[in-house]
Structures are given as structure tokens and as C-alpha cells.
């Protein structure tokens, strides 16, 4: 086994970039810091690919499984004699895969941003934040133990907060960033408690120990049963809560659409390709524990994923803000991945779902980043997010058009594009393990195709809006990433994932099951067809359909009023019914009591002042009665 210590640079370079551009960014011309950041990321990308190639191929002994190894580790703090938190670098199939994803997309986004953010105020700040995010994400990916993961989990959260709120003078952006942070924070509460329980039961944070089939987590399923579920199950469900928060699973998804307030490259990087799949990554990380120690928790994962994907897909069909459509589609796709993990078994061909989930994560990163960047280019050209202001853009911006189309086809699961393979694997897994979920996903496949092409057509075809200044193709800095990603989303599907990324590290045979593949392709095509009919030309059908569905349409259009529910809880309950009473109670009862004491003392001081009447005889009287009182007490009462 050769030495991977250099992988330490992968997170450290972005950190250095962050500190450098953050502290000195304002000193020199903005573009400089942009270039520095991009070159830095280039290095990181090279390193990541090198690592991947070495790990998967050069260093890999044929026929052996892929083992996980610690490239580096150092102690961070001792909680107790048993529990110690380390920081380190863990190399194993999924982490390497994530390295590829993160570095690639991040690098693309860096290049893209050079063009997209040109002339923005705080250009340097933007790039330093990007580096911060990359650092945190890398740290999260390479975490050797669950606590390190939690640390970077939070850092990722805060960098997303910073990037969403990049336009900090825009109230909507501010509130969106706040929302994102608080919702995920709330989810992380579950994550933290989960970690507490897990570490309490197993006396370790370390992933290798946790997931090893002979490890404490799996062999001795500790913890008293509570509500019929074992302690470890609860722990894992709580951990998953954290994952659900980051990955915008129902009902913790509400921050994701608002997060689109951030600059589009950010959406592409954080809210499409990398951060939002952290939840999936987390579950994949702990997968052996889930599947061997707590299958119930795994069911929760599966159902949450399935429901979210359907829920999101339905909403996506009704949105008109293109970024929001993409956001919901992201949510839906992540639902896919979760479901894949949820229905998977451990080891061998049972582990198909696990493989498929990661596979889809990989491909999805490519085409969803592509979609977002494309959307960015369009917004750049049209200066609007709303598809109502668009139409017939295909002749103005051909490259964008083509790449976008490719992406749409990919996500719709058209054969021989990457999306087809991964999604097909997922459906197969579901088909074998959980029929109801399979049906849901089958429907979602159709919906996906529909709303993606609804989007596509209403942007590039449809009515000829006349723009007050004719939109033009984006500059090379933006189109090149598009092309690269398009390439990725076409060919990513041909990677032999079933040999590389498997639940137990052992390769297994996977082949396309036509019983599943053909229907799914067909329903995809159906969806496309419907979309074509409805949106290729300006027609009345959408309107009529909307009115036809009536209530249901409205609900979906208003995202099933989730935001309102949350608003009610926070604004009304917490602010008015808890916080304000507490403040009042503190001022008037607790503090009032203290003041009351003072007032009582003062009052009594005035009450007894009559004793000091100034008259000698009264003094004498008090004197004598005092003496007599003493006599009575001590002679008769004692």
C-alpha cells in the first residue's frame, strides 16, 4: 500500500486560498484573487484525479476488494479516556469518488465564475468563500470519523450561509441564508444527538471501527429499546435527520428553493452537486451499520427519499422560476439516491442499490451542475429568473442550448447517456426490494422528463419574446465549463461503478435489466412527448390543465404551503408564544420580585418611623416595655 499523505493538501490548499484571499483580497485587483483561486483549484483537481487513478487502478491489486485506509490522522481533542476526536484523511471508494465530484464541479464553477461574477462588488470575497466551501467539503468527504464529519458539516453549512447571503444588501438573500442555516442547524441537532448516542454506545467515532462488520456498532447492538426501536436505530435515524437536513429531504427541504437567492454558480456547486448530496454521502458512509444493525432506520431512509422525490417532482411541474424548478428537481433526484441506499442490502448483488445511489450521485453531479450553469448563462443573458420572460433563446445562445438539451435528456434517462444507467440501476434495485417505492419512482421518472422538457421548451422554444437588448452567447469562461460538463454527463455513465464503489468493497456483476429499463425509458419519452405538445409552441393546454387540476395545482404551485407552516411555527409560536412571554416574565416576575424586596424594605422603613417620635416619655415607655418584654420572654416563656 503506498503513501497517500499528500492528499492532506487537497483540503489544505483551499484553506490557504481562503485565508489568503480573505485577508488580502481587497489589496489588489479582483481578478487576481479569482485567478489565484482557480489555479489553486486546478492543482486540487489534479491531485484528486491522481488519487483516484492510483487508488482505483494503479495501486489496486486485481481481484481484491477496495479497502479503506487512513492517509493521515492527528488527535484534535480528548473528550474522555475512551472518546478521542481525530482529524485525518480517509481514503476509500466513496471518498475518492466524492473527491472527483467535488474537485471537478468546484473547478468548473471557479472557471465559470470568472466570467459570471465579472464586475460584481466583492469578487474577491466570492472567491474566498468558494475556497472556504471547497475546504470544508473536502474535509467532510475525507473525514476519518463521524465527529470530524460533523465539524466540517457545520463548516459547510456556514459557507453555504455566506454564499447564499452573498448579496447581503438584498433582504431576500439575507433571509434565505438565515433560513438555510437555521433549518440545517435544526437538522444537525438531530445529527449531534445521534452522534452522542452512537459514540456513547460504541465508545468510538472512527468510521473504520464503526462500519467494520465485527465492530461494536454492529455486533453488540447496544442501547435500551425505546418505542420499540433499539437505541442504535434511534441513533441512526437521528443521524439521518442531519443528512436529510443537508440533502433537503422532506420535511426539511424548505431552505433549498430559497437558497437559489445565491449567485447561480453557488447554486450549481453547493445546492446541486456537492453539499446537498452530503446527506447521501453520510448514509453511504455508515451504510454497513444501517443495513446490518438497523434495517428499520434504512426503511425510514428509503421512504423519506421516495416521498421527497415524488413531492418535489410534483412541485417542480408548476414552478416558473427556472432555478427553483432545478432546485426541486435536485431534491427529487437526491430522493432517488436516498431511496437507492434505503432499498439496498449489504454485500454482493444485494448491494446494487448502494452502488446505484453513489452512481447516481456521481452522474447527477455532472448534469445538474451543467443545468445550473446553463441556467446561469441564460439568466446572465436575460437578467431574469422567470421562464415567462424567456422563449426562443435557442438561436441566440446555441452552445448553451445544446448543452442544456443534453443535460435534460440525461436527467430524463434517455439511453446511452449517463443518467440512464444510474437511474436504471436504482429502479432495478427498488424493483427487487420494494415494489411500492418502485412504482413511485417509476412515476417520478415520467414527471422528471416532463418538467425538465417543460423547462427546456419554454426557455429555448415557445413564444418569441422580444428582448430590449438581444441576448448573446455567454463568454468562453462560461461556455467551456458547460462543454466539459456536457461531456461528463454523457460519458460518466460508462464508468464500471459496480466494480469500484460497492457496499463491501467487492466488485460484482451488474447488467441492465430490460424488464425495468424499457418501461422507464418509455415513460421518460412519454413525459417528453407531453411536454413537447404543451410547451413547444404557445398553447392553451397548460392553462386549461392548471384550471382543470384546480386545487391540486394551487397547492403544488404554493409548494403545498410548507413555508407557511414553518413561518407559523417560527414567527407565531417561538417568537410570540415563547420568546416574548419569557422576556416579559423575566422583566416583570423575576426581576420584579427583586425590586419588590427593595420596595418592601423601603416601605417598612417609613412605617416604623413613628417610634422615633422625639418625645422623651415615649422613649421611656418603649424602654420600659422592652425591658418588661425581655423579662416576660426569659422568665415566663423560657
Amino acid at each position: 500500500m503506498t503513501d497517500y499523505t499528500y492528499t492532506l493538501l487537497i483540503p489544505l490548499i483551499p484553506l490557504a486560498l481562503f485565508l489568503f484571499t480573505g485577508l488580502t483580497g481587497h489589496k489588489f485587483k479582483p481578478v487576481v484573487s479569482g485567478l489565484i483561486g482557480t489555479t489553486g483549484l486546478f492543482v486540487v483537481t489534479i491531485l484528486s484525479y491522481m488519487t483516484a487513478i492510483r487508488y482505483f487502478w494503479t495501486d489496486h491489486v486485481e481481484g481484491m476488494g477496495y479497502t479503506s485506509l487512513k492517509a493521515f490522522e492527528t488527535t484534535w481533542i480528548h473528550f474522555s479516556d475512551k472518546l478521542t476526536v481525530n482529524l485525518g484523511v480517509l481514503i476509500d471508494p466513496i471518498s475518492v469518488m466524492m473527491l472527483i465530484v467535488v474537485s471537478t464541479v468546484s473547478f468548473m464553477v471557479h472557471i465559470y465564475s470568472l466570467g459570471y461574477m465579472k464586475g460584481e462588488v466583492g469578487f474577491a470575497r466570492f472567491f474566498s468563500f468558494l475556497s472556504l466551501f471547497t475546504f470544508s467539503m473536502m474535509g467532510l468527504v475525507l473525514a476519518t470519523n463521524i465527529f470530524q464529519m460533523y465539524i466540517f458539516w457545520e463548516l459547510v453549512g456556514v459557507s453555504s450561509f455566506l454564499l447564499i447571503g452573498f448579496y447581503y444588501t438584498k433582504p431576500s438573500a439575507v433571509s434565505a441564508s438565515k433560513k438555510a442555516f437555521i433549518v440545517t442547524r435544526f437538522a444537525d441537532l438531530g445529527f449531534l444527538i445521534g452522534i452522542l448516542m452512537l459514540s456513547f454506545m460504541t465508545d468510538t467515532f472512527d468510521f473504520q471501527t464503526l462500519v467494520s462488520p465485527t465492530g461494536p456498532a454492529i455486533t453488540q447492538v447496544g442501547g435500551a429499546a425505546f418505542l420499540g426501536l433499539s437505541g442504535i436505530t434511534w441513533a441512526l435515524i437521528l443521524v439521518f435527520m442531519g443528512g436529510a437536513g443537508k440533502s433537503a429531504m422532506f420535511p426539511l427541504h424548505i431552505w433549498l428553493p430559497d437558497a437559489m437567492e445565491g449567485p447561480t454558480p453557488v447554486s450549481a456547486l453547493i445546492h446541486a452537486a456537492t453539499m446537498v448530496v452530503a446527506g447521501v454521502y453520510l448514509v453511504a458512509r455508515l451504510f454497513p451499520v444501517y443495513s446490518l444493525a438497523a434495517p428499520d432506520a434504512l426503511h425510514v431512509v428509503a421512504w423519506v427519499g421516495g416521498f421527497s422525490s415524488l413531492f418535489a417532482a410534483i412541485i417542480a411541474c408548476t414552478q416558473t422560476d427556472i432555478k427553483r424548478v432545478l432546485a426541486y428537481s435536485t431534491m427529487s433526484q437526491i430522493g432517488y439516491m436516498m431511496l437507492a441506499l434505503g432499498v439496498s442490502g449489504y454485500g454482493g448483488h444485494d448491494g446494487l442499490g448502494f452502488m446505484a445511489g453513489n452512481f447516481h450521485l456521481f452522474t447527477h453531479a455532472m448534469f445538474k451542475a451543467l443545468l445550473f450553469l446553463g441556467a446561469g448563462a441564460i439568466i446572465h443573458a436575460v437578467h431574469s429568473n422567470d421562464m415567462k420572460d424567456m422563449g426562443g433563446l435557442r438561436k441566440y445562445m446555441p452552445i448553451t442550448h445544446i448543452t442544456f438539451l443534453i443535460a435534460c435528456l440525461t436527467i430524463a434517462g434517455i439511453p446511452f447517456l449517463s443518467g440512464f444507467f444510474s437511474k436504471d440501476e436504482i429502479l432495478t434495485a427498488a424493483f427487487h426490494h420494494n415494489m411500492p417505492l418502485f412504482i413511485i419512482e417509476f412515476a417520478v421518472a415520467g414527471l422528471t422528463a416532463f418538467y425538465m422538457f417543460r423547462l427546456y421548451f419554454s426557455i429555448f422554444w415557445g413564444k418569441e419574446t422580444h428582448y430590449h437588448h438581444t441576448p448573446h452567447e455567454a463568454p468562453a469562461t462560461m461556455t467551456i465549463p458547460l462543454l466539459i460538463l456536457a461531456f461528463g454527463s454523457i460519458f460518466a455513465g460508462y464508468l464500471p461503478f459496480h466494480e469500484l464503489v460497492t457496499s463491501d468493497g467487492m466488485p460484482f456483476e451488474a447488467h441492465i435489466e430490460y424488464a425495468v429499463a424499457i418501461p422507464s425509458v418509455l415513460i421518460g419519452l412519454l413525459g417528453i412527448a407531453i411536454a413537447t405538445i404543451m410547451y413547444r409552441k404557445q398553447t392553451e393546454i397548460p392553462q386549461r390543465l392548471a384550471t382543470g387540476f384546480g386545487y391540486f395545482y394551487n397547492w403544488a404551485y404554493h409548494k403545498f404551503y410548507m413555508d407557511e407552516v414553518y413561518l407559523f411555527v417560527t414567527k407565531k409560536i417561538i417568537f410570540n408564544y415563547i420568546s416574548r412571554p419569557v422576556a416579559w416574565f423575566d422583566r416583570h416576575i423575576v426581576d420584579g420580585f427583586m425590586n419588590l424586596i427593595a420596595r418592601v424594605i423601603e416601605r417598612s422603613a417609613y412605617l416604623i418611623k413613628g417610634f422615633q417620635s422625639g418625645r422623651i416619655q415615649q422613649y421611656g415607655f418603649v424602654f420600659v416595655s422592652g425591658t418588661i418584654a425581655l423579662v416576660i420572654i426569659f422568665i415566663y416563656l423560657w
Partner: protein, 506 residues
């Protein structure tokens, strides 16, 4: 000359020197010099301490010095430090240093101001170095009294009221404390022999349990009042709100820590049995104050009130951890004291600087300050992130340690309280982000904020010092927590040898 004595001597000499200064410039120069020396000394002390430990010196207290003071009452001037007190001393030195620079332009009665400020510091340092209960109590009150003048003369708003309230409530606390200490003294030799005030000697014996039952509440609440224990915390919002910047910094930063430190060092350490019996009462109170303070902070409009309530919440966490009574929790408590001391001092410094520019502390009258004063804005955000427990900053380390310590109790009573306490981090996030959002971000509320200038050099110095400290602890907590852990060993032994089990409701 014992190095620890210097920690009391230097401030006293500084005050004397200030007495001879002519004008504000000289005054602040002298005090800055004095406190810088103090800071350097503290750093030296840390290295000396670690050196001694690495050299294998396993004594419970190092650099001890003992002089008989009142022979007939066996009162000694006994000083010594272990990892905990060293850490607290370092904290104090940093905060005082920052405080001096934060109040750089105190032109009104500046001499008196700096003298009383440094007197306060003297008391705090003395408290942390002394291992004799009498001197401890003496320094404790020395630290408390200057607050009255500092708030009453240089304060703002209803300063007389707040100052008086604060002083009287804290003195009421010391009333309880005195009873507790006297009781401890008179039972410090149950098997006959010389009574003593010396912490270490008392810790070797066991105070009769029925006496402990009587004395523990006095001692714990006595210190707890200074530690903002619910429902005795109400001096803190008013006091902080009226106090001048540096004073709030010192008060929330270090003075409130005297409470936690004392509750730990005296109440728990000397009376573990009673502590274990009565812990659940105070655990309820503290966990209430953790959540309650956080919720109280959400509603406030005044920056200082917000921070005061968050202090109630965080200090509540300190006492909460202390009452959990295991090594991890203790370690967390100490870390929390330090981290809260640093970040709340930073907060108050920033609030003072912002107030000095906008002349209001009402968040709804401000907005978009990030654009006009980026430096202060960024630092404020950092402070906020530290206080909501972002990894890489000190708050996270402390809170996590506390939670992991508290979680080691398996009974549902402790579990529930622990989860209550943990949930406070979300509420913290809510009010911190609320403030950041309203105060710094968004459009600029008022046009004549546009020409406000950013931080001056001394303000930068004072804030950056604190930020560095916060980040240092947050990124590399190992040395600090180990330093504390080593010293916690004997204390935990003393507590664990007592065979009692926690009395829990479930």
C-alpha cells in the same frame, strides 16, 4: 519573589502609577503598559506551568507560596495554581488587555476609571491564584465593589439603578457565601486538630454530610448568583446594559467566571456528597437558565440586552456542566468559561464601538452596517459564529465537551436535561443570525450612517487579540484541554471516591 504574587502586585503598582499621571494620554499609556506586562506574564506562566508538568511535577498546585497571616485564625496568604487557574488567569489577562484598548478614549475622569478597572482586575487575579478560602473571599469582594463606581459614574441609561442593583445582589450572594465558607472552616477538622481555610487541606477530609447538606446550597448559590444562576440573574441584563464597554467586557468576560470557578472549586470540590444529593435541583435551574436565557435573547431589541441574556444562557451551561460532575463535563465547563469569556468580551467590545458611532444600541434603528464598517461587521459575525458554536472557534469545543460529558449519565432525568441544553444551540443560532441580519446585513437604514468610519487601530488591536484567542482555542484545543484535564484528575478522584449515586427523579 513568587511569580503568582506578581499578578496581584503589578496591577496594584499600575494603579499607584496611574495616581501620578497628569492627563488621559499618560493614564492610558501607563495602564496599557501595565496590563501588557500582565499579559506577557500570563503567557510566561502558562509556559512555566507546562514546563513543570512535563518535567514530571505532579503536585496538585504549582508555584505555591504560603505565608501565615492571622495565626490565631490560621488564615494564610496561600497561593498556587493548577491548569484550571492558569487557564483562567490567561483569560483574564487577555480580556483586561483588550478592555484597556477598548476604552482607549475614556476622557471623562480617566484616571479614576482606569484605577477602578485595574482594581477590579486585581481582585480577579487574586481570586484565581488564592487557595486560601479567606483570601479568596477577600479578593472576590474586591473584584465586585469597583463595579458600583464603574457603572454608576461612567455608565449610561439608568446607571444608578443598575449599579445599585448589581452591587446589592452580588453582595447578597456573598452573604450566602460567607455563611458557607465559615461553615466549611469550622468543620475543616472534624477529627479534631487545627481548623484551616486551605482548599487543599480541606479537600483531604470529608465534611460531615449533614453539615454539607446545610452548607452546600449557601456556597453554591452564593457563587451561582455571580454566575447568573436562574432566578438570580436579573442583575446581569441591567448591569451590562448600563455599564461602559470595558466594564461589560470584564464583567461578563471574567467576573461572572468567578461564580462558575468558585462553584466548582469550593462548592463541588469540598462538598461532593451534598453536591451529588442536591445536584438535581440546581441542574433543573441551570438547564432552565440555558434555554430561558436563549429564548429571552430572541425578543430583545437592545444589543447589550441580547448579549446579556446569551451570557445567562452560556453561563448557565457552565454551571450545568459543573453539576454533571464528571471529568469531561468539568473540562467542558472550564473550556466554556474561557470561550464564553473571550467571545462575550469581544461582543461587548464591538457593541461599545458600534454604539460609539451610531449612538444607539437598538437593532431596529440600525441596518446594513456591514457596508460602512466592514471590519467591525466581520468581527461581529465571527463573534456571533463563535457563540453559536461554529467549529474552528472556541464555543464549539467547549459546548461539545460539555454535551459529551453530560451525556455520560444514563438516567432519563439527565438525558432529558442534556437534550434540553443541546437544543439551545439552535435557539442561539436563531437570535445570533437575527441580530446579524438586522444589524449588519440588508440595506443601510439611516443615511448619516454612511459616513461613519471603520475601526481605529486600538479598536482593531483589542478585537483582533480576542479573535485570535478564540480561533486558537477553536482550532487547536488539545493543549488547553489536556492542561485542564491533568489538573482535573485529583478533583475527580476526590469526588468519585464518595460512593454516592446521583439522586434522580426517574
Amino acid at each position: 519573589m513568587n511569580i503568582l504574587t506578581l499578578f496581584v502586585l503589578i496591577p496594584v503598582l499600575t494603579t499607584l502609577a496611574i495616581g501620578f499621571t497628569k492627563n488621559m494620554k499618560q493614564t492610558r499609556l501607563v495602564s496599557a503598559v501595565g496590563m501588557s506586562i500582565q499579559l506577557i506574564l500570563a503567557a510566561i506562566l502558562v509556559f512555566m506551568y507546562l514546563g513543570e508538568r512535563n518535567a514530571g511535577n505532579t503536585a496538585e498546585m504549582l508555584f505555591t507560596y504560603d505565608a501565615l497571616w492571622f495565626p490565631s485564625l490560621n488564615i494564610h496568604y496561600a497561593i498556587g495554581v493548577d491548569g484550571i487557574s492558569v487557564a483562567m488567569i490567561l483569560l483574564t489577562a487577555i480580556v483586561v488587555f483588550a478592555g484597556i484598548f477598548a476604552s482607549w478614549n475614556m476622557d471623562f475622569l480617566s484616571r479614576e476609571f482606569f484605577i477602578s478597572l485595574i482594581l477590579l482586575a486585581t481582585g480577579v487575579f487574586g481570586f484565581f491564584i488564592s487557595i486560601d478560602l479567606f483570601t479568596m473571599f477577600l479578593f472576590y469582594e474586591v473584584a465586585v465593589i469597583p463595579m458600583y463606581l464603574l457603572i454608576g459614574i461612567w455608565g449610561s441609561g439608568p446607571k444608578e439603578y443598575s449599579a445599585m442593583k448589581l452591587t446589592l445582589m452580588l453582595m447578597g450572594g456573598s452573604a450566602l457565601l460567607m455563611v458557607g465558607l465559615l461553615g466549611i472552616y469550622f468543620y475543616s477538622a472534624p477529627s479534631g486538630g487545627q481548623l484551616t481555610w486551605n482548599l487543599l487541606e480541606i479537600s483531604k477530609i470529608t465534611i460531615p454530610i449533614e453539615m454539607q447538606r446545610f452548607l452546600f446550597p449557601f456556597t453554591f448559590i452564593g457563587f451561582g448568583i455571580l454566575g447568573a444562576l436562574f432566578p438570580f440573574h436579573t442583575w446581569s441584563p441591567d448591569g451590562h446594559a448600563s455599564a461602559p464597554t470595558a466594564v461589560s467586557m470584564l464583567h461578563a468576560g471574567v467576573l461572572m467566571k468567578l461564580g462558575g470557578y468558585g462553584a466548582f472549586r469550593v462548592a463541588i470540590f469540598l462538598m461532593p456528597e451534598a453536591a451529588q444529593e442536591q445536584a438535581w435541583i440546581f441542574l433543573l435551574l441551570t438547564s432552565i437558565s440555558v434555554v430561558y436565557g436563549a429564548f429571552g435573547a430572541i425578543w430583545q431589541k437592545d444589543l447589550k440586552y441580547i448579549n446579556a441574556y446569551s451570557s445567562v444562557s452560556h453561563c448557565g451551561l457552565v454551571l450545568f456542566a459543573v453539576l454533571m460532575m464528571n471529568q469531561t463535563a468539568f473540562n467542558g465547563a472550564i473550556l466554556q468559561m474561557i470561550s464564553h469569556g473571550l467571545m462575550t468580551a469581544l461582543f461587548f467590545a464591538l457593541i461599545g464601538m458600534i454604539y460609539g458611532r451610531t449612538h444607539t444600541r437598538m437593532i431596529n434603528e440600525m441596518g446594513g452596517l456591514m457596508k460602512v464598517m466592514p471590519f467591525l461587521g466581520v468581527v461581529y459575525v465571527i463573534a456571533g459564529l463563535a457563540s453559536l458554536g461554529l467549529p474552528g472557534l472556541s464555543g464549539f469545543v467547549a459546548e461539545m465537551t460539555i454535551f459529551f460529558g453530560a451525556f455520560q449519565h444514563t438516567d432519563s432525568f439527565h438525558r432529558i436535561l442534556t437534550i434540553m441544553a443541546i437544543s439551545s444551540i439552535v435557539i442561539t443560532a436563531v437570535y445570533i443570525l437575527r441580530v446579524v441580519g438586522i444589524l449588519l446585513l440588508g440595506p443601510i437604514k439611516d443615511d448619516h450612517y454612511l459616513h461613519l468610519e471603520d475601526a481605529k487601530w486600538h479598536e482593531r488591536l483589542s478585537t483582533v487579540t480576542l479573535v485570535i484567542a478564540i480561533a486558537a482555542i477553536g482550532i487547536a484545543p488539545l493543549w488547553l484541554s489536556d492542561m485542564i484535564n491533568v489538573s482535573l484528575g485529583p478533583i475527580v478522584d476526590k469526588i468519585s471516591i464518595t460512593g454516592f449515586q446521583f439522586v434522580s427523579l426517574f
